[in-house]
């Protein structure tokens, strides 16, 4: 085992849903833009040069995702875009009409949405309601329609992710967005995991706002965007220079934005080829894991899920014990997404899907990406059965003495 920087040749990186390597083209674009001088808000030639790079990037992202350039609000990543959508739209709507105090999100949202909703409940007097999901992690459009019928006149904003970061379940976003739109409710979707993996078209989706982030599509960390419909009012989180339609102040990160646009464009253009290659690898992984560990539970929707996602519960194991054992052999994967002080909590996603606590704690996510190969899957399968057996023995460690 080694600490610090892992030896890249020796590792099998199966954690692309956490972050995926930058595409060479995005890295090159970043470095080239970082050599240029200029604040995009400045009025001289250097500023205009930077501004031009930003605006070209905005147009490329808009074109790739079925949005208008003016709908692209650059942010410091997915978390900021989620917070901006949930809080900003809530504030704007509530300020316009005091009856609009309800916020609806699915129970399987990323914490960037869930905790923003929770904060609105605790600090802004919002009524918060989490929409339950079925055993595959999907929101039922019928139940959602029912909620809109009963409470539509109080709902300020709805947020349902496009695809889940843990189990890869894809939501019926267009259906839900249409139900919300019919009741005049702005619908936000966190599409961080979806872009480049499933077709994402902002206009066609009917969503009022959509989150994406650079580092899940082969771009840099710390840059993302909220696609925000022209007619959707949104109160800023950050006040200052009035950049980005006055919705998000702060000097734009020109190289980050350029690299982000390069990555989004490449991910969307290469999606079909990526999906067929990665889904085949993933299917092979799933088949071999199920053969090697017959009692493994494949979580999520077996068919309709993100192409790179495989998520299992290994009965009798602690997920964090498995992670340690695999990490020691250079195989990198993830337990739930939630961490408090580095302590693994049972995944709220699996709990919402009806799993019990032990099953939620015994889960591991393997996520494949653009540079995954069969060798990664082979390495996993070489290590996993032994690790599961060992973790199972360690599973008895809680026995009281």
């Amino acid at each position: 085992m080694t600490g610090g920087r892992p030896k890249l040749e020796a590792m099998a990186y199966l954690d692309h849903a956490a972050t995926t390597p930058m595409l060479p083209a995005a890295l090159d674009a970043y470095v080239a833009a970082a050599r240029e001088l200029g604040n995009p808000s400045s009025l001289h030639a250097a500023g205009r040069g930077a501004r031009r790079l930003v605006e070209e990037s905005r147009e490329r992202i808009a074109a790739a995702l079925g949005a208008r350039p003016s709908e692209v609000i650059f942010t410091g990543g997915g978390t900021e875009a989620d917070n901006l959508a949930v809080k900003g739209i809530f504030w704007a709507r509530r300020d316009a009409d005091q009856r609009l105090r309800r916020v609806v999100a699915s129970a399987v949202e990323h914490h960037a949405v869930l905790d923003a909703v929770d904060w609105l409940g605790r600090h802004e007097g919002a009524d918060t309601a989490l929409q339950p999901v079925d055993a595959a992690g999907r929101v039922d459009p019928e139940a959602f329609a029912e909620l809109v019928r009963a409470h539509g006149a109080e709902i300020a904003v709805v947020s349902v992710q496009w695809a889940n970061n843990e189990v890869g379940t894809v939501q019926p976003v267009a259906e839900l967005a249409a139900l919300a739109a019919a009741a005049g409710i702005p619908f936000h979707t966190d599409a961080v995991q979806a872009v480049g993996q499933v077709p994402v078209d902002f206009a066609a989706s009917g969503a009022a706002a959509l989150t994406l982030t650079g580092h899940k599509v082969g771009g840099p960390v710390g840059v993302g965007a909220l696609l925000l419909g022209r007619d959707v009012t949104c109160t800023p989180l950050l006040h200052g220079g009035g950049q980005e339609r006055d919705v998000r102040s702060g000097t734009l990160d020109t190289p980050g934005v350029v690299a982000f646009a390069t990555a989004v464009e490449a991910a969307v253009a290469g999606r079909d080829e990526h999906v067929s290659r990665v889904a085949a690898l993933r299917d092979d992984l799933v088949e071999r894991v199920c053969a090697a560990i017959p009692d493994a539970i494949y979580n999520g929707d077996p068919a309709d899920r993100l192409p790179g996602n495989a998520h299992f519960s290994f009965p009798g194991c602690e997920g964090d014990a498995l992670l340690l054992l695999l990490d020691a052999q250079g195989i990198y994967c993830s337990t739930g997404s939630a961490c408090s002080a580095g302590v693994a909590q049972p995944s709220h996603v699996l709990l919402a899907m009806g799993a019990d606590d032990p099953r939620a704690r015994s889960s591991l996510r393997f996520s494949l990406g653009h540079d995954s190969t069969k060798a990664d899957v082979d390495a996993l399968l070489a290590a996993l059965p032994g690790a599961v057996e060992r973790a199972r023995r360690a599973g008895a460690w809680k026995t009281p003495r």
Binding site: G3, G4, L324, L325, A341, G342, R390, K398
Partner: protein
């Protein structure tokens, strides 16, 4: 060996992990998350279980160059240490939570899990020596020696323990931490009970056990001298906080002699009545060669030692002290040492149940 280093975020465990790595072991660092809610534990440098401590441990692992994880031991800690602490006080005894943590958490729950995951041993930053001969000895730094809180460990537990610091003074450990570039080099020592955030043990016990008023009586006359809010708030040998309205006939201070939970009474008396010269204890852990030995015993953490004749049976230990000792509290450990120039050797330990005075007063 593949070893697991328990890293509290303090200087000792960081240097211990680094030394284990230098010794050629394959070391993995683990920080134990012990608080159900980290905010309720001591913050800053004083505790061992806060978010800041977790971060300090992680940074030390980075500098040493070993993998690092956080293990959630909050439930085990709560059940085996915090609840035990409260229950022991409720039963009129005086527990040592650090000792219990070693016995039930570090060298039980953590060790078991480590072994199951393929590790051979657990490394900690305790100041005690455990050499190739397998004998547990006091640290060279007598002021920092922690052999007392390790003496509860069984042979099997000791066989899987590594204490790399026993040959060094605390001063040397700090200097080495600085040489190694560990930021925790000048982090202050922790002293208090980590799970009592404000250091107010009595308040903590009262919040758990409620108030239970009872009598304070004179040990010689049986006279009722006052009342208390809960017998659990007292420790044998305690003088302060008795708040007695009836002054002692001789005007001398009075001390807590015993606590009787069944009648909820605290018995007090003059200092000499605290003296005991026979100590009985149960749950012995014995490494000594014979069932009866002449050795030295220590009756509380950082307490003085006294020569004694110790007799051990499978479930009891009786020590006859060469000279009387005061402040011997049930629930504390009696630890037997054989004096040795290479560091006094731990012969064994047991949990004190009672002390009595057999020889007549001087």
């Amino acid at each position: 060996m593949r070893v697991l280093a328990a890293m509290s975020g303090g200087v000792d465990s960081a240097v211990a992990a680094a030394r284990a790595r230098d010794a050629g072991h394959d070391v993995t660092g683990v920080h134990l998350a012990l608080a159900r809610n980290p905010q309720t534990f001591r913050t800053g440098a004083r505790g061992c279980c806060t978010l800041e401590d977790s971060r300090d441990a992680r940074r030390a692992a980075d500098v040493i160059g070993i993998p690092f994880y956080v293990w959630d031991m909050a439930e085990e800690f709560h059940d085996s240490v915090v609840d035990d602490f409260v229950n022991e006080y409720a039963a009129g005894r005086t527990p040592n939570p650090c000792l219990r943590c070693n016995e039930k958490i570090k060298f039980a729950a953590v060790l078991d899990r480590a072994v199951a995951l393929g590790f051979d041993a657990v490394v900690t930053g305790h100041h005690a020596r455990l050499g190739a001969d397998g004998l547990l000895r006091r640290s060279v730094d007598l002021a920092k020696d922690q052999s007392y809180v390790l003496a509860v460990l069984t042979r099997a537990q000791l066989d899987r323990a590594i204490f790399p610091l026993g040959d060094s003074t605390k001063e040397r450990v700090r200097a080495e931490a600085a040489e190694r570039g560990l930021a925790v080099a000048d982090k202050p020592d922790s002293h208090d009970i980590c799970f009592i955030a404000d250091g107010d043990t009595r308040g903590f016990l009262e919040s758990r056990l409620g108030s239970a008023p009872g009598d304070i009586v004179d040990g010689r006359t049986g006279e009722r001298l006052g009342t208390h809010n809960g017998a659990y708030g007292f420790t044998v040998g305690q003088r302060k906080g008795l708040d007695l309205r009836v002054p002692a006939a001789d005007g001398r201070p009075r001390y807590v002699l015993s606590i009787t939970p069944v009648t909820n009474t605290v018995t007090v008396g003059p200092r000499e009545d605290l003296e005991v010269d026979v100590v009985t204890a149960d749950r012995p852990i014995w490494h000594g060669p014979a069932e009866s030995v002449t050795c030295e015993v220590q009756l509380r953490a950082h307490g003085e030692v006294v020569p004694a004749a110790v007799a051990v049976s499978p479930d009891a230990l009786v020590a006859t002290l060469a000279s009387p000792m005061r402040g011997v509290a049930a629930g504390q450990a009696i630890v037997a040492y054989r004096p040795d120039p290479e560091g006094d050797i731990v012969l064994g330990s047991a949990t004190i149940t009672a002390g009595s005075r057999v020889s007549s007063h001087a």
